[in-house]
Symmetry: C2
Subunit: 465 residues, 2 copies
């Protein structure tokens, strides 16, 4: 062990090797406290060459490695289990290049998503990946988990926003596939194999990301309506009218708004009356004029057709942020309402209303009084189906049913050809679920690929597979 530590210190310098867990306790616990772990040491390489050297040294010693970015992952993928070296990517924080002509930028894995957005913005471009944790999460983690967020409808998820990657393999070699090309059919698609593999096949150290023109017009509406079926029809209508100008289409139940109004500072009810369900829609176009008129006309038609009950457009940038804060705070404020059991489900878009109805009925039958907070990226078919404990119930007793309730909800999603992890990944939380539910032949292919790329099994072991 002391040999290993000496070798690691030789690579990153003694100041970037921490062998006493007290000195890196914050990296061993997931922010919500759902996952805690331990590790032999924390090592903080400064660049790709140091990452490669660290991995080579660990491979020679047959010691496993857990890569970590902003430590915001929700499924435990970034938390070590004891015998591993925790490898932090946060010092790889350079924006290597912004290429306005190619509409790409190359950033290192430890750059936070917010800093990546800012680098694009500074060059008058848009990097559209956007999620709640963007101030802390890093590009490496975004790619490792194929992050989604609130602009997938128009721009795609992390995978679709990436043209190339630089990866350190399990033997310490570096794959340079930092392509900025929009089209390149030269061999297997290794980029997409590493994206979403949660550090189990290699460590992403840098990425070439797509940039876009910044929209010249944007309009944001908070809409009250009767139920998810009306929201589904409204979504279809939005896509017919605005196509890929529909950037976000988020579904919000009244109870989620109630939670936010109760617990978040400065939150205000956006519409005059209360409605059972809401949709937060954002449209963006390059054409500077006419969007608000078109949106007003569209929602007027939707009101006439009885699809919606009320709607308000954000009248200022400030009001837009206030609308978005109502949406973004939903996850956070749930903790003030006691225990909650969470699901990150996706179904084919047309099945969203049916999924919410069936899953709600099943959950209420299992736990009368449970409060169902089903919200999220309706336009992607991705519902965060969260369940708060009944008012006054025992939190621990409620949470003890986590696996049982998960099984019920995931089975309903599965019957609708849905997924039990739409955007958060597998990590340790859903590893058994993956083993149980994945097509057996697909699972065997995954295992064969894992063995081929990580024969020693040292890359984030126990995650995903």
């Amino acid at each position: 062990m002391s040999d290993l530590f000496a070798n690691l210190a030789g690579i990153v310098g003694p100041a970037n090797l921490f062998t006493d867990a007290k000195d890196f306790a914050g990296s061993l616990v997931e922010p919500r406290g759902l996952f805690t772990g331990s590790a032999r040491a924390l090592v903080r390489p400064a660049n790709t060459a140091e990452v490669a050297a660290v991995v080579a040294v660990c491979a020679a010693a047959n010691v496993a490695i857990v890569p970590q970015g902003g430590n915001t992952g929700l499924v435990g993928g970034q938390i070590p289990k004891g015998p591993e070296i925790l490898l932090s990517l946060t010092r790889l924080n350079r924006v290597r290049e912004v290429d306005k002509l190619a509409d790409t930028m190359i950033v290192e894995a430890g750059v936070t998503l917010a800093d990546a957005q800012a680098a694009a913005d500074k060059a008058d471009r848009l990097f559209p990946l956007s999620l709640g944790s963007e101030g802390a999460c890093t590009i490496g983690g975004n790619l490792a988990t194929n992050a989604g967020g609130v602009a997938v409808l128009a721009y795609g998820n992390a995978r679709e926003l990436t043209t190339g990657v630089e990866v350190v393999l399990s033997d310490g070699r570096i794959v340079n596939a930092l392509s900025k090309l929009r089209k390149d059919n030269t061999g297997y698609d290794l980029k997409d194999l590493f994206i979403g593999s949660e550090g189990t096949l290699g460590i992403v150290t840098a990425a070439a990301l797509k940039l876009f023109a910044r929209p010249r017009a944007r309009t944001t509406a908070f809409i009250g309506l009767a139920d998810p079926s009306a929201a589904l029809k409204l979504f279809g209508s939005a896509r017919e009218h605005f196509g890929s100008s529909v950037v976000s289409f988020e579904l919000i139940p009244r109870i989620a708004l109630d939670y936010v109004l109760r617990h978040a500072e400065r939150a205000r009810d956006p519409l005059g009356a209360q409605h059972p369900w809401y949709v937060l829609v954002e449209l963006a176009t390059q054409n500077a004029s006419g969007l608000e008129d078109a949106a007003t006309e569209w929602l007027g038609g939707a009101a006439e057709a009885g699809l919606i009950d009320d709607a308000a457009f954000a009248a200022s940038g400030e009001q837009r942020l206030a609308f978005w804060a109502l949406r973004e705070n939903i996850s956070d404020v749930q903790k003030f309402e006691g225990g909650s059991i969470k699901h990150d489900v996706s179904v084919p878009i047309g099945a969203v209303p049916e999924f919410i109805a069936e899953a709600s009925e099943a959950v209420l039958k299992r736990t009368p009084g449970a409060r169902i907070v089903a919200f999220g990226h309706m336009g992607d078919g991705n519902i965060h189906f969260n369940v708060s404990q009944p008012v006054g119930a025992d939190k621990a007793a409620f949470l003890a049913d986590w696996d049982g309730m998960n099984a019920v909800v995931h089975d309903i999603a599965a019957r609708m050809d849905g997924s039990y992890s739409a955007e958060h990944g597998i990590g340790t939380l859903k590893r058994d679920l993956l083993a149980a539910k994945k097509d057996p032949a697909a699972l065997d292919v995954m295992r064969a690929v894992k063995r081929a790329l990580d024969p020693q099994g040292i890359m984030n072991p126990g995650k995903v597979l």
Copy 2:
């Protein structure tokens, strides 16, 4: 051998097994005659189960398999080399499902692209993949080669248009990953591993494809301008003004138009005067009104800024098709001008003018009098850099320099971080190029994946790797 044939006939029926090469000669030669081959037999399974059984029987006999769709591939991937069984997917030609609510359809591998488009159209949806050979090429081949085409800018290539695949593995097992989900982060991205692998990792038997709303407005302009630099600036301006409403942005040199006017029926010069270069732009929006006004204003501004010299909008659907025929016929008519040496290059978009200039200079230095026909998907950075022989030169002598000229052109693209196969794939034509040019670690990863998924080496051997 007779055992193998008996087993195969038992699966597909004697009527769908052909063991005399005379009976399937057309499947052994690529339409341009660039690749010819031979095979032990042609087998035509009717469905996925029969494909799986055929592969299992071949695996047991250690006999290799070459899958074939419409036989339109340009790099020889679909042509067998002798000892293999040729497996035609053309009988897998059912559209299994069109799901308007989920905006997806599931089609089998042997459905032609045109039939897939028609199935979408019948349901009032758009399947936007579009390429010259769409009447003959099949979805299976489109996915095997990750086909591109003329609408990649707005909708993506075959990969980005696919949400799920059904694949027969090298041991005859079936992977059912026909997901219709927009978001699904449950394990490694096997879909994208099989897409673009040219049948070397498994055989795609069906695909779940994305559908879109049909645009309500469309405008198509044929634009004359000075050079590729002006075209690049115009492209940037188009994206600023119209974002993802820019569906196509095709670059055409005057010589290509001359070829088409000379050799294609009913071709007419679209603008009053001649121009050194042209761009064919197509814009499409969901907003039914205002597009043509906005496009007119945009091109007016471009003319004032000196970016363009002249432009004509298609005044009718018929004229639009005539504009497109000028573009689509370029490849075809080149044969009337003697031998041509072709390159399917991509570079970062901003480097397109520089690439064309440098490659042209190098080619002319090598072969004075060569006629350079550099055209294609400028918006994707994808230039079909084709070179016609000098007028009156010896065709065979000219074509004898294929590899030498390729090397010069590909080296220039490589210096600009470009690719030698933007959208056509590797097949046999570019296999040595891949081995020579790919990042060595990436190549090793590809080989490891190949060994893991096809340990016997029976899936389209000698292609790609």
